[in-house]
C-alpha cells in the first residue's frame, strides 16, 4: 500500500528458513569482483534474480548492471541431431551396420529423404548394383558436433554456418537478460533487519539508536488515509467556495445580506414591481416557470419573517446606543410594516404601467390584475431586492444589500444553460449617485475577483435606466465578454414604492456560474452544478483565490 509505514522488520528469509538467494548473491559478490548472474546462478529464473538484486540494491549493498544478450539455442530438430546424429550420419550408420542395404530398404529408412544425398556427396556410401555399401570405416559427423557445441555454449563461431543452420531450422536465437553484480557503497555481507518507521516502542527502549531505517521513497505521493481524489477528506463544493469569496467581497464593502428564502414569488414582485410590462417576452411560458399548484398568490403585503430578519441585521450607524433601548427585531419589524401602505403601492404600480405616473407616460396598456397573482419560480433575485427596497421606503436612507441564491429559467438545457443557476445581486441606495460612480464601484468590485479593467455598454433592461452591460477582457477567447449587468433603477419602480426622488439606487448582477466557468476553464455548466458533477472534481478542486488566479 502506498506510504504505509510500519515497525514490522523486513524478514531476512522468505523461503521458510532455507538459505535464500540474496544470501547466495552476497556470498558470490564477496568472492568475486563481478558476478555474472547467468553464470553464477544458471538455474534460477531471471525474475527471481532481479527481485533479489533489487532488494540488495535498494539498501545500496550491491550495485548491478543489466545486460541484454542474444543466445543461440537448438530447435527441436537440432536437438534430435545433437542427440542422434545428422540424417546423413544415420544413413551411413545403417549401411555400415548392415554391410549392404537394398535400394528398397534404404529408401524406407526415415532419414533417407534428407540424408541420402549428403551421405553420397560426403563419399560415405555408394551404389553397388541394386544395393548400397559403405565407403568409410568411420566418419566425423560435423553437424552433430557443432550443434552439441551450441547446446553447451549457446553460441556459434561461424556466422555463415549460423545463417545456414538457422535457415535449416536447426537453431534459433533468444533474448536473455543477465546481470552483473558488484559491491555497492553500503556493502555488507549480511542483510540487517530494517525498520520502516519510528515507533513509540523504539523511542522507549532506545532501539532507534541502532535501528537500520529503510530509506523512504521520496518519489511516492503521501496519503490522507482514504481513497479518491480527496483521500477521504471532506470538501466544500467549488461553486460554494466561489460564492463564499463573493460574500466576503460584499461584506468587506459594507453590504447586508438579503433574505432569499423564496423560490416561489408572485408575478407582482418578480415582474410588475420591476416595471416589466405584462406583454414582455420575459413573461412568456418559454422563459419563465409558472406554478400550477398552488393556483395563485395573495395580494402584496408584508412578510413578518423577512421583516424581522432584516430588522435584526439593520445597524443604524448614527444611533446613540445610550439613549435608545434596543427594541426586539420583531417589534421593530412591526413598526416598519406599520409605515408601509401595500395597497397604495399596488395602485401605484398599476397606474405607472397603465396610465403613467411619477413623470412617466407609462406603457399605456390595460393592466391585468390576474398577472400579478400568477405564481412563478423567481427568474431573478431582483424580486427580493424589490421587496427590500419597498421596505426601505418606511425609513429611506443610504444602504447596501446583496444576495446570492438560486434562480430559475425555463431554458432548454445545453452546455451553457441550465434551468437553474445562481444570481449574485447587489443594490446600493444613496443620495447623489452618478452613473460614473456605478462604473467606479463596479471596477472596485471586479478588481477583487482579479478582473482589472471594465468597459460599459449601453443596454436595455425594463427596470434600470441607464442600463449598462459590464464587459471585461477574456484572455482565452481573446476578446471582451459580458460578465454582468448593471444600472440605476427606474423612477417608475422606485417612486411607486414611495422612495424619495433624490435617493438613487444602483443595481447590478451577474451569475455565479459564469465567472466560475471562465476562471476554471469549465465549458459545460453541468460539470459545475447539479447531480452530474464529478465527485472527484469537488474533492480535488483547489482553494478559491479569485484575486490571485
Amino acid at each position: 500500500m502506498p506510504g504505509t509505514r510500519s515497525a514490522v522488520p523486513v524478514p531476512l528469509h522468505t523461503n521458510g528458513g532455507q538459505r535464500d538467494l540474496t544470501e547466495e548473491i552476497l556470498e558470490a559478490v564477496d568472492q568475486s569482483e563481478h558476478v555474472a548472474t547467468n553464470e553464477a546462478f544458471p538455474q534460477i529464473p531471471q525474475g527471481e534474480i532481479k527481485a533479489a538484486l533489487d532488494r540488495l540494491a535498494s539498501r545500496s549493498m550491491v550495485e548491478y548492471e543489466t545486460k541484454d544478450n542474444e543466445e543461440v539455442i537448438l530447435t527441436e530438430e537440432g536437438q534430435t541431431i545433437a542427440d542422434e546424429g545428422s540424417h546423413e550420419y544415420q544413413i551411413w550408420d545403417a549401411v555400415q551396420k548392415a554391410g549392404r542395404l537394398s535400394d528398397k530398404d534404404l529408401g524406407a529408412h526415415p532419414a533417407s529423404k534428407f540424408g541420402r544425398g549428403n551421405a553420397i556427396k560426403a563419399k560415405w556410401i555408394k551404389k553397388d548394383g541394386d544395393g548400397w555399401v559403405s565407403l568409410a570405416e568411420s566418419v566425423t559427423d560435423h553437424t552433430r558436433v557443432q550443434l552439441q557445441h551450441v547446446q553447451q555454449h549457446h553460441v556459434m563461431q561461424d556466422p555463415k554456418q549460423q545463417k545456414d543452420y538457422t535457415k535449416r531450422k536447426l537453431i534459433t536465437t533468444r533474448k536473455v537478460i543477465t546481470y552483473v553484480a558488484r559491491k555497492g557503497p553500503r556493502w555488507a555481507k549480511e542483510m540487517r533487519i530494517e525498520v520502516t518507521d519510528l515507533t513509540a516502542e523504539m523511542i522507549a527502549d532506545g532501539s532507534w539508536k541502532t535501528a537500520n531505517f529503510k530509506p523512504y521513497n521520496f518519489n511516492a505521493k503521501g496519503t490522507l488515509g482514504g481513497e479518491g481524489a480527496g483521500g477521504g477528506t471532506g470538501a466544500l463544493h467549488p461553486l460554494n467556495k466561489v460564492r463564499e469569496e463573493f460574500r466576503k467581497i460584499f461584506f468587506n464593502m459594507g453590504f447586508e445580506e438579503m433574505p432569499t428564502a423564496r423560490f416561489v414569488d408572485s408575478g407582482f414582485w418578480n415582474f410588475d414591481a420591476l416595471y416589466v410590462p405584462q406583454q414582455h417576452p420575459a413573461r412568456d411560458l418559454q422563459d419563465t416557470f409558472y406554478v400550477s399548484d398552488p393556483p395563485e398568490a395573495g395580494p402584496p403585503g408584508p412578510d413578518p419573517e423577512f421583516d424581522t430578519i432584516l430588522a435584526s441585521m439593520d445597524v443604524d450607524d448614527d444611533q446613540d446606543e445610550s439613549d435608545h433601548p434596543t427594541l426586539d427585531p420583531a417589534a421593530r419589524a412591526k413598526d416598519t410594516t406599520s409605515k408601509l401602505d401595500y395597497t397604495k403601492y399596488y395602485d401605484n404600480v398599476r397606474a405607472v404601467h397603465q396610465d403613467g405616473k411619477f413623470g412617466s407616460i407609462g406603457y399605456r396598456y390595460p393592466f391585468k390584475d390576474d398577472e400579478p397573482k400568477r405564481l412563478v419560480l423567481r427568474t431573478h433575485t431582483t424580486s427580493i431586492s424589490a421587496y427590500v427596497l419597498h421596505r426601505l421606503s418606511a425609513n429611506p436612507r443610504p444602504c447596501r444589500y446583496f444576495s446570492i441564491d438560486r434562480v430559475f429559467r425555463n431554458e432548454t438545457v445545453d452546455a451553457t444553460h441550465l434551468a437553474e443557476f445562481h444570481q449574485i445581486e447587489g443594490v446600493i441606495a444613496d443620495y447623489n449617485l452618478t452613473l460614473g460612480g456605478l462604473q467606479a464601484f463596479l471596477k472596485r468590485f471586479f478588481r477583487n475577483i482579479g478582473v482589472p479593467d471594465l468597459k460599459f455598454k449601453p443596454a436595455y433592461n425594463p427596470y434600470t435606466e441607464p442600463s449598462m452591460e459590464v464587459f471585461a477582457w477574456h484572455e482565452g477567447l481573446n476578446k471582451i465578454v459580458e460578465i454582468g449587468n448593471s444600472g440605476m433603477f427606474r423612477p417608475e419602480m422606485l417612486l411607486a414604492m414611495g422612495l424619495p426622488p433624490d435617493l438613487r439606487v444602483y443595481g447590478f448582477g451577474l451569475s455565479l456560474e459564469r465567472p466560475t466557468m471562465i476562471k476554471y476553464g469549465i465549458s459545460n455548466i453541468r460539470e459545475l452544478l447539479g447531480h452530474k458533477v464529478d465527485l472527484g472534481f469537488i474533492e480535488g478542486n483547489p482553494a478559491v483565490r479569485l484575486d490571485r488566479e
Binding site: 482514504g226 481513497e227 480527496g230 471532506g234 466544500l236 463544493h237 461553486l239 460554494n240 461584506f251 468587506n252 459594507g254 453590504f255 445580506e257 423560490f263 414569488d265 408572485s266 411560458l285 416557470f289 406554478v291 400550477s292 398552488p294 395563485e296 395573495g298 395580494p299 430578519i309 435584526s312 441585521m313 450607524d317 413623470g359 396598456y365 419560480l377 444602504c399 438560486r406 441550465l418 437553474e420 444613496d430 449617485l433 452618478t434 452613473l435 460614473g436 460612480g437 462604473q439 467606479a440 471596477k443 460599459f456 455598454k457 449601453p458 443596454a459 436595455y460 435606466e465 442600463s467 464587459f471 440605476m488 427606474r490 417608475e492 438613487r504 447531480h531 458533477v533 465527485l535 474533492e539
Partner: protein, 603 residues
C-alpha cells in the same frame, strides 16, 4: 433580443464608410447594439442558386422598434454619427383634400377593436427595399405585436382597390375571398382549416378561431383587403411595381396600434417621391369615440432638467451642449427660454421607448459616451455589513460536515414527482404539498423538491465510478406549499447527508448527526429525559426508532429536539438505512444510509 440581418455592402454604403470589423463593433458597442455575426466570414446559404450576399447580423435592444429594419438601424447610426439630422415627418393630404376613409363597425369590438391606417404615395420599391418592408412587418409581428396577438399589419396596392373602406366583423361563413398567393376563393371557415397545415400561419389561427365573428376589411366594392390577423387577400397584394401603399393595422392594444403605424411609415416614407411624407386616412369609429385621422406624427413635447441629467451623469455640460448630444439620439432639443434649468425636448414618434426624463438622461449619457464619463464613486455615509442568520448557521453545518470528512454537493432544486415521492416510497402530505410547475419543458422538472435526499441519491448514481464509500452532504432549501403565506409557499433550510458503500453506513450518518449536534451545542439526552424536560437545561436532542417506508424496517430513527428544558419537543428529521426498493429505483447496488433534518430550529 431581436437580431436583424442587413446587407453588409449596402449598409456600409448607407453609413458612408467601409468599416473594419473592429471599427464597426466599436460603433455598435458605443451606441448599445451588438454585431452578432458578419457572414462574410462564413459559408452563406444559397438563394436561387447564388450564394447570399454577406450580411451583418445586428442585435438590437428589445424596446427599439425603430431599429427593426435596415432603414432604422442606418438612420439611427447616421444621426448618432452626425451624418444626418432626424427627418421631419409630415402629413400630406391629397391635393383635393379628400382623405380616404375607413369606417369601423361596432361588431369589431367583439374580436379586435382598434384600427389604424396610413397611405404611402408614389413609393419606389427596389428588390432590397421591398424585402426590407416585408421583413419589418414580420419583425413587428413577432416582437412588438407578440405574434400578432396585439397588433396585425396588412399592406395593399391602393391602385387595385377603391375607397371608402370598411373594417367589420362578420361570421366566418359570410367572408369569402382568395387569400394571398392563391387564386382559390374560400370562405373564412374553409380558410382556417386550409391554414391548419401551414407552418407559418397556423400559429396565428387561435387568435380568432373560436370567435363568432372574424375581423375583415372591405373596399367600397366589397373587395376584401385582409382578414386580420391571419391573411391579406391576393387581390390587393403589393409587388415591386406598387406605387401607392395602403397600410391597415388592427389591434387589441391601442398604444401598440399607433406605434406600429408610426414605425412602418417613418421607416419607409423615405422612399416616397416626396420623402418623409405620409398621407393620412380618416377613421370613422363613432361607437367608441375613436374617430380621428391617422397617423399622428407630431413629436411628443416634454421638458428635461439639465441639472438632473448632469447630476446623474456626473457632468457639468451646458444646456446647449446637452441639446447637441440629444440631437444625436434623434431628439429635437433647445434650452428653455422660460426656465433656466430646463431643456425643451421633442421626442420623435419613432422613439416610443422614451417614457421618462430618465430615458432622455440615458441618451445624453450614451451620446457623451458611457466610457468617457467621469468615474468617481462617492458614498454619503459608512455602511456596516451583516450576514444572514440562516446562512451563518448553514455555514457552521457545512464546515463541520466537511471537516468530518464529507463532501458537499449541489444537486438541482427542480425534480420529477417520482424522484421526490414514489421512488422514496412516499406520497405528498396534506400539510406539506409540493409546488407544482405549470409549463416545464421536460419531465425532469415537475415540482420543487420537498427533500434533499433525491438530489443526493442522483449524485451518487452519476458517480458510481468513484471509490466507495461515498460520503456527501448538502445544506440548502426545500419548498412546501403554505396557504398562510402571500406566495402560498415557504422555503425551509435542510441539512442532508448520504453514505454509500459496502457496509450500510448507519453508524456513520448517526455519527455525523452527533458531531453536528455537538457543534451546535445540542446535548444528547435520552427519549425519557427529553420528554420530561430533563438531561440538560439548554438545547437537547434525542433519537427514537421509527417506521418509515423510505427506510429498512428497524433501521431508521426520528430526530427530536427540545430548545430548552421547559419547551416542547419537535421532530426535525430522520436518518436510517435506505430500503432496498429505494436503492433499486435510484439504481444503487450498494447499501446506503441517509440523514435529513430541518435546521431552522437552531437559528
Amino acid at each position: 433580443m431581436p437580431t436583424i440581418g442587413v446587407n453588409k455592402a449596402d449598409f456600409y454604403k448607407a453609413l458612408g464608410k467601409e468599416y473594419t470589423k473592429e471599427e464597426f463593433e466599436e460603433l455598435c458597442f458605443d451606441f448599445g447594439i451588438e454585431l452578432d455575426e458578419d457572414t462574410s466570414e462564413s459559408k452563406r446559404p444559397m438563394v436561387d442558386g447564388v450564394e447570399e450576399a454577406p450580411q451583418l447580423k445586428i442585435e438590437i435592444p428589445a424596446n427599439r422598434y425603430d431599429m427593426l429594419c435596415f432603414e432604422g438601424i442606418a438612420m439611427n447610426l447616421n444621426i448618432f454619427l452626425g451624418r444626418q439630422p432626424m427627418p421631419n415627418y409630415t402629413l400630406k393630404p391629397p391635393s383635393d383634400g379628400q382623405l380616404q376613409t375607413v369606417t369601423v363597425s361596432k361588431e369589431t369590438e367583439q374580436i379586435r377593436k382598434y384600427f389604424s391606417c396610413a397611405i404611402l404615395r408614389n413609393v419606389k420599391f427596389t428588390k432590397e427595399r421591398y424585402e426590407s418592408f416585408i421583413a419589418l412587418q414580420d419583425k413587428l409581428h413577432a416582437n412588438l405585436a407578440r405574434n400578432r396577438t396585439l397588433v396585425a399589419i396588412g399592406t395593399h396596392d391602393l391602385d387595385t382597390i377603391e375607397g371608402p373602406f370598411t373594417y367589420e366583423a362578420l361570421p366566418p361563413e359570410q367572408i369569402e375571398f382568395a387569400p394571398l398567393n392563391s387564386t382559390k376563393v374560400m370562405n373564412a371557415k374553409q380558410m382556417m382549416e386550409h391554414f391548419e397545415k401551414d407552418k407559418h400561419l397556423s400559429r396565428y389561427l387561435h387568435i380568432i378561431r373560436d370567435s363568432p365573428v372574424y375581423p375583415i376589411i372591405y373596399d367600397k366594392n366589397r373587395t376584401v383587403l385582409s382578414m386580420p390577423p391571419i391573411i391579406n387577400s391576393n387581390h390587393s397584394k403589393i409587388t415591386l411595381e406598387t406605387r401607392n401603399v395602403f397600410i391597415d393595422i388592427t389591434a387589441t392594444d391601442k398604444t401598440k396600434l399607433e406605434l406600429t403605424n408610426h414605425i412602418i411609415v417613418t421607416m419607409f416614407s423615405q422612399y416616397c417621391e416626396e420623402p418623409f411624407t405620409v398621407e393620412p386616412v380618416k377613421i370613422v369609429s363613432e361607437h367608441n369615440g375613436e374617430t380621428r385621422e391617422t397617423p399622428d406624427l407630431t413629436p411628443r413635447h416634454t421638458q428635461a432638467s439639465a441639472s438632473f441629467i448632469n447630476s446623474v451623469c456626473g457632468l457639468s455640460e451646458s444646456r446647449e451642449k446637452l441639446c447637441k448630444s440629444l440631437e444625436r439620439m434623434c431628439y429635437k432639443a433647445k434650452p428653455s427660454t422660460t426656465d433656466e434649468d430646463k431643456l425643451e425636448v421633442d421626442i420623435p414618434v419613432t422613439r416610443a421607448d422614451v417614457l421618462h426624463e430618465a430615458d432622455i438622461m440615458e441618451d445624453a449619457a450614451v451620446a457623451y459616451g458611457f466610457n468617457s464619463i467621469p468615474r468617481k464613486f462617492t458614498s454619503s455615509t459608512s455602511f456596516t455589513a451583516a450576514s444572514l442568520p440562516i446562512n451563518k448557521l448553514a455555514d457552521i453545518i457545512r464546515l463541520e460536515s466537511a471537516m468530518a470528512g464529507w463532501a458537499e454537493v449541489m444537486p438541482l432544486i427542480l425534480c420529477s414527482h417520482d424522484e421526490n415521492y414514489g421512488w422514496l416510497n412516499q406520497a405528498p402530505k396534506d400539510d406539506a404539498k409540493p409546488v407544482v410547475l405549470q409549463n416545464p419543458k421536460t419531465a425532469e422538472y415537475q415540482i420543487v423538491r420537498t427533500s434533499l435526499i433525491p438530489g443526493l441519491l442522483k449524485t451518487v448514481r452519476e458517480n458510481k465510478r468513484h471509490a466507495v464509500p461515498m460520503k456527501i452532504f448538502e445544506v440548502s432549501d426545500v419548498c412546501y406549499q403554505d396557504p398562510s403565506k402571500e406566495r402560498k409557499s415557504r422555503n425551509e433550510r435542510h441539512f442532508a447527508a448520504c453514505w454509500y458503500g459496502k457496509s450500510s453506513g448507519f453508524e456513520q450518518v448517526h455519527g455525523l448527526l452527533d458531531r453536528v449536534m455537538m457543534m451546535l451545542k445540542a446535548a444528547f439526552v435520552t427519549k425519557e429525559q427529553g420528554i420530561e424536560g430533563k438531561g440538560t437545561e439548554g438545547l437537547g436532542y434525542w433519537i427514537e426508532e421509527v417506521e418509515d417506508p423510505t427506510y429498512l424496517p428497524g433501521h431508521a430513527a426520528a430526530i427530536y429536539v427540545r430548545l430548552a428544558a421547559d419547551s416542547k419537543a419537535q421532530r426535525i428529521g430522520i436518518f436510517g438505512i435506505l430500503h432496498p426498493t429505494v436503492l433499486k429505483k435510484f439504481e444503487l447496488p450498494f447499501p446506503t444510509s441517509t440523514l435529513e433534518l430541518n435546521v431552522e430550529v437552531f437559528i
